[in-house]
């Protein structure tokens, strides 16, 4: 049952990612990407990473994609210009590069697949308590530095989008 669910989520994620990068309208692209984020959140639940699954939906499907949609609607082409454009053209060197990467990655994974066993003790518990314990004990310095990074990102975004720095 879990395996069937995993394959369903994987199919949805791959299909919506392919659709997302092949739309000519960036708004449709972003909405398909939201579907991919939800499918990946389902995969995280099946991998028993509960906290990561919730954060995926809250941060990615919520905050980041809303930011994306706002900027796309500010910046992107009008609908009549979209209607004049043809289907999006892919440049073949890029497709060739990614196909090469896919071949190498699949080759490596298939040749090392017997090492992908879950740990004997069943693996870590991915709930918020465990993650929070480690976050505030061993990784507390990185956690605090992250707040400085977010402050820097916020200041950078405000300054970059300001018209005039006076």
């Amino acid at each position: 049952m879990t395996e069937v669910l995993f394959y369903c989520f994987a199919a949805v994620a791959v299909a919506s990612a392919v659709i997302a990068i092949s739309r000519k309208n960036a708004v449709a692209s972003a909405l398909w990407l939201v579907l991919m984020f939800f499918a990946l959140a389902g995969t995280y639940v099946l991998l028993e990473a509960w906290f990561v699954a919730v954060i995926q939906i809250l941060v990615y499907a919520g905050a980041i994609m809303v930011l994306f949609l706002f900027v796309i609607m500010l910046v992107d082409l009008r609908s009549e210009e979209l209607a004049m454009m043809g289907a999006p053209r892919f440049r073949w060197p890029g497709l060739l590069t990614s196909a090469l990467f896919l071949a190498v990655a699949v080759f490596v994974v298939l040749n090392t697949r017997e090492t992908f066993q879950a740990a004997a003790e069943g693996g870590p518990d991915g709930d918020a308590g465990t993650i929070g314990y480690w976050l505030f004990h061993r990784w507390v310095l990185a956690f605090e530095v992250t707040s400085v990074l977010l402050l820097g990102g916020m200041l950078g975004a405000v300054i970059l989008t300001k018209r005039r720095l006076t």
Binding site: E3, V14, F37, L46, P93, Q117, A118, G123, P124, L150
Partner: protein, 163 residues
Amino acid sequence: MSALLDPMAAAGLATAVPLDRAVLLAAVLFAIGLAGVTSRRNVLIVLLSVEIMLNAANLALVAFSKVHGDPTGQIFVFFAMTVAAAEVAVGLAIVIAVYRLRRTTDVGEFAALHEVDYGPVPYPQLEGKPVHHHADSDDGHEHGGAPADGSAEPAAAGEEAHG
């Protein structure tokens, strides 16, 4: 599919999700994101494809956290999402700043970091059409004769070489 009859599952060691399948899914998603980054021309779709690649890396991290029985991988996913949020904020701010200058979202137009004078750009002008480099816009840019000069010079040079 014969892969469903996994010997690891028979040994009672595995989680319900086959972890090599999860890593394969991460590789496929990363390749899709790579295709979007390297072959699309709309900078917004390029940034969306970067998000696909980050998510593929996150999935691989969670799967390997399961392999090693160590929550550090999931904590790294937490930090990766935070950095991704900051990256999206700054990246989209750069997109808006460049769009204000160039009136386009084509990555081919983002080659120069310095300002190119496309004439006065009123702000905010959301109804304006993006100015392409071949556009016959009437916004008074003074290098309208530059392509003619550029095409004339190689011809002259060729004549000199022949002569």
